[in-house]
């Protein structure tokens, strides 16, 4: 099967899955108790029937569920994600506003955890049983087992409150009006704590995965052959062991990449990062259906896309794997 045909087939399949996800999400959300009109009325602290009826009409909640679903799907197919009456803005604008912050955060965490995790894994494997291995494995185990929100709070307490080195929350210094390089550096400083916190768990996972996989591959016959041929250990490590050991890491990276759009709710909340994870979380508690469905739609599309990329990467890393087979 040619690469183009493979990609096309996957895209078609992806579209069908996306539609199914859309319908399922729609039904699940509407099954939850409460609706946006009730939440808004509740926040106002006083209501009469007319107020709630007006809100329901604005949200389209006075229509039968099937009509609402049909209207939503019809819009989504034309990439129209609807209007958030609560926020008074088109959903696409809301998502578009928040997406860059989330991408910056999750991509940084992604790159950080892959680089750090693989490097630490290689290091630990090459020193198997030694003190270096013990230290790396222990640290990884701690990060693996500790809840994210606790690490986040402790990190901000230590580096922000006690030491005063890094800003503990926010995307940039509000009111400073930095431009150009100064702004980039400012955002970078704000990025360190959340990106590290978000990346630690996967760093630990990659580390353990790389270490185990390296050790396994290093016992295989072709490595012995390479050693017998007298190749330098460095080359054996890189070309023979690491390249083969990376396959399971790529599988995992594909999983993490799937979370690049929506997977940072907790980190974004604790660090007041103005991203899409928080948008989604707020939309859930406010039953802002259109926003919620919009975020789900975009993140589901991203998961499908990253799965596809992962599959293609397999082939590049290991040419023995055939596309589509």
């Amino acid at each position: 099967m040619s690469v183009i045909r493979f990609i096309l087939a996957r895209l078609v399949k992806g579209a069908v899955i996306l539609l199914a996800i859309l319908v399922l999400n729609f039904l699940l959300i509407h099954a939850a108790p409460g609706d946006p009109a009730a939440v808004m009325a509740g926040e106002a602290g006083a209501t009469d029937e007319q107020f709630i009826a007006d809100l329901r009409a604005r949200f389209g909640l006075d229509q039968p569920l099937s009509t609402q679903l049909w209207l939503y799907i019809k819009g989504a197919i034309q990439l129209d994600l609807g209007y958030s009456y609560r926020q008074g803005m088109p959903v696409a604008d809301l998502i578009w506003d928040r997406l860059p912050a989330t991408l910056l955060l999750t991509m940084s965490a992604f790159v950080l955890s892959i680089m750090l995790g693989v490097a630490a894994g290689v290091l630990a494997a090459s020193r198997q049983g030694g003190w270096g291995d013990t230290i790396i494995s222990t640290v990884a185990m701690i990060f693996y087992a500790t809840p994210l929100f606790w690490i986040a709070l402790m990190a901000s307490l230590l580096f922000s409150v006690v030491l005063g080195w890094l800003p503990g929350f926010g995307y940039e210094t509000i009111g400073a009006n930095y431009t150009g390089m100064a702004r980039v550096l400012d955002i970078g400083r704000h990025l360190i704590l959340p990106a590290t916190t978000l990346g630690l768990f996967f760093t630990a996972v990659y580390m353990r995965m790389t270490r185990a996989s390296m050790l396994e591959v290093s016992r295989l016959d072709f490595v012995k052959t390479a050693r017998a041929k007298g190749l330098r250990p460095g080359i054996i490590q890189r070309r023979h062991i690491l390249r083969n050991a990376l396959l399971p890491v790529i599988t995992l990276a594909g999983l993490q990449a799937g979370q690049i759009v929506g997977g940072a709710v907790l980190t974004e909340t604790v660090f007041a990062w103005p991203g899409i994870g928080r948008l989604m979380f707020e939309a859930i508690s406010q039953r802002d259906y259109n926003v919620l469905l919009g975020v789900f739609f975009v993140s589901a599309a991203m998961v499908l896309l990253f799965n596809l990329i992962t599959d293609i990467l397999y082939v590049i890393v290991d040419p023995r794997i055939r596309i589509g087979s």
Binding site: G34, M40, A41, G42, Q50, F169, A272
Partner: protein, 516 residues
């Protein structure tokens, strides 16, 4: 027409607001906003966060001091006719909207008579007593009532009757007007930028009608969704003010002890946040008054006040808060008395079924309070189950009367007719809203007194009626009253005159200044 002239309290307000120090101009004030408001257009949305930010942008005709006496705002003086039917307001000179248009009496007529009638349920209820609203000339507006509605002068606060620019909204679809995202008011600060998820930025209104005010150049409201991070924001100096309720209660003592930190409980007198537990009078075990009395006396509210609320606030004595007008302190006792609770339970029809208790999903303190309450009730012989919900789920269950006991708190708006009667009168029993007479309390005699008290122009007569009402309701005990909540405002001591009225920070920062 004989007019009873009410002297504006300008002088008194200035004297109390300005001690020996002279106000200094300049500086930026950083506050937190929690949660992020859905909109800043106060004519459409009046929830707490919206009012806090939009209270700088929009104004109403009056403000209220901490004793809830009216003070000038957009109206510089006003008269009430002796029959209590005609209210004449004389507006300030030289007021302009943030876009430069002149503010006139026609804006007031449009706001109250057209815009808010359509969009504001709480004001709509008050406007039922209003026969006409007319602009006599550009600077005078007259409200004529159909009946002498006693608390009328208490409804001219910015969250209740925000004045909206007629030139922007007249003839448009209010809810979808594009200008909703760039609000235009007459207030001390202008809307500059709202980066959703990050901050709201307001700047000084250079053309404000009071000379020299506002003192601050800029105001930033920081959107910080996590309570612990809001505390960190104050500790690291990013924000200067934590308004009431913005950090978890257990953080209040620690933050209060930080250097250069001042704490005030003032600024909530108008709202009078009053907490109670709904008891389902419609059906189930709570339909029996003896069960309700058993619940009330089983609650160790002293413990809740000290341990959970750090001693901030005070025990409620009945349906009316002590800061609300016509409060009656000598109501029948609702004190903690487990023995008495067991006796009432003995006499009741309660046969051991599990009660469903809904905590208020507003954070840790409320969760702990529900747990402590469950413990109290178990000790006198109830069986109680906590039902976890999120805010939307809580709204729905309470609105559908699907509970036995449910925590809540409501604002009193300074007058029993505005903020108290709504939860006890029979005409307000309707499924579908969590904020009406959810308990389902019915007492026709009391209902008649509520009507009479609201429509009496004489304060003495009103006091007599409200005292009777408070005594009867406490006797009937439709709900379990808990606390008058204390919401302390924590701020750096060099931020002066942050709270100068009974509406507190929600009233706008027109008097606030920073000592350099």
């Amino acid at each position: 027409m004989m007019n009873k002239v009410i002297t504006p309290l300008v002088l008194a307000a200035v004297l109390t607001a300005a001690p020996a120090l002279a106000q200094q101009s300049g500086g930026t004030l950083n506050l937190v906003i929690q949660p992020e408001p859905p909109s800043l257009m106060m004519g459409l949305v009046q929830n707490g966060p919206t009012q806090m930010v939009a209270g700088d942008i929009y104004e109403s005709l009056l403000r209220y001091d901490t004793d809830l006496q009216p003070m000038p705002s957009l109206a510089r003086e006003w008269e009430v006719s002796e029959d209590g039917l005609t209210y004449t307001f004389h507006l300030q000179d030289g007021v302009t909207w943030h876009d430069g248009e002149a503010f006139t009496a026609h804006d007031v007529v449009f706001s109250a008579d057209v815009f808010l009638r359509e969009t504001h349920p709480r004001l709509r209820a008050t406007l039922e007593y209003v026969d006409s609203i007319e602009a006599v000339d550009d600077a005078t507006v007259v409200f004529t009532l159909t009946e002498p509605f006693g608390p009328f002068l208490g409804t001219f606060e910015a969250g209740t009757m925000p004045i909206i620019p007629r030139h922007i909204y007249e003839g448009t679809d209010f809810a979808n007007n594009e200008m909703n995202n760039t609000p235009i008011g007459t207030g001390p600060f202008k809307f500059q930028e709202w980066r959703r998820g990050s901050f709201i930025h307001l700047v000084k209104n250079e053309d404000y009608y009071l000379d020299g005010r506002p003192y601050l150049d800029e105001v930033y409201y920081h959107v910080i969704p996590d309570g612990a991070s809001r505390a960190v924001a104050y500790e690291t100096g990013t924000v200067d003010v934590l308004h009431g309720g913005s950090v978890e209660n257990f953080d209040v003592p620690r933050l209060s002890e930080l250097p250069d930190t001042c704490v005030t409980e003032a600024g909530w007198e108008y709202f009078g946040p009053h907490s109670w537990m709904w008891m389902n009078n419609h059906e189930g075990p709570m339909a029996d008054p003896n069960t309700r009395r058993a619940v009330m006396h089983a609650l160790d509210r002293e413990f809740a006040l000290d341990a959970l609320w750090n001693g901030l606030g005070k025990l409620a004595t009945g349906p009316v808060s002590s800061s609300t007008r016509f409060y009656e302190p000598d109501t029948p006792s609702i004190a903690f008395d487990p023995e008495l609770a067991r006796e009432y339970l003995e006499q009741s029809s309660y046969d051991g079924e599990t009660l469903q208790l809904l905590p208020l999903p507003y954070g840790e303190t409320w969760q702990r309070w529900a747990e402590a309450t469950r413990q109290n009730l178990i000790e006198v012989g109830f069986d109680v189950e906590l039902v976890a919900t999120d805010v939307a789920g809580w709204n729905q269950r309470v609105a559908d009367w699907d509970f036995d006991l449910a925590f809540t708190y409501l604002y009193q708006y300074g007058d029993p007719a505005l903020g108290v009667s709504r939860t006890y009168v029979e005409s307000n029993i309707a499924k579908g809203s969590p904020w009406n007479n959810v308990a389902g309390y019915r007492n026709p005699e009391v209902d008649a007194k509520w009507d009479q008290a609201a429509l009496s122009a004489s304060d003495d007569e009103r006091q007599t009626l409200y005292t009777e009402i408070q005594n009867t309701i406490v006797e009937d005990m439709p709900v379990a009253w808990l606390l008058e909540l204390g919401f302390p405002t924590i701020h750096r001591c060099n931020v002066k005159d942050l709270v100068t009225t009974g509406i507190g920070i929600n009233d706008g920062l027109r008097d606030a200044w920073i000592e350099q």
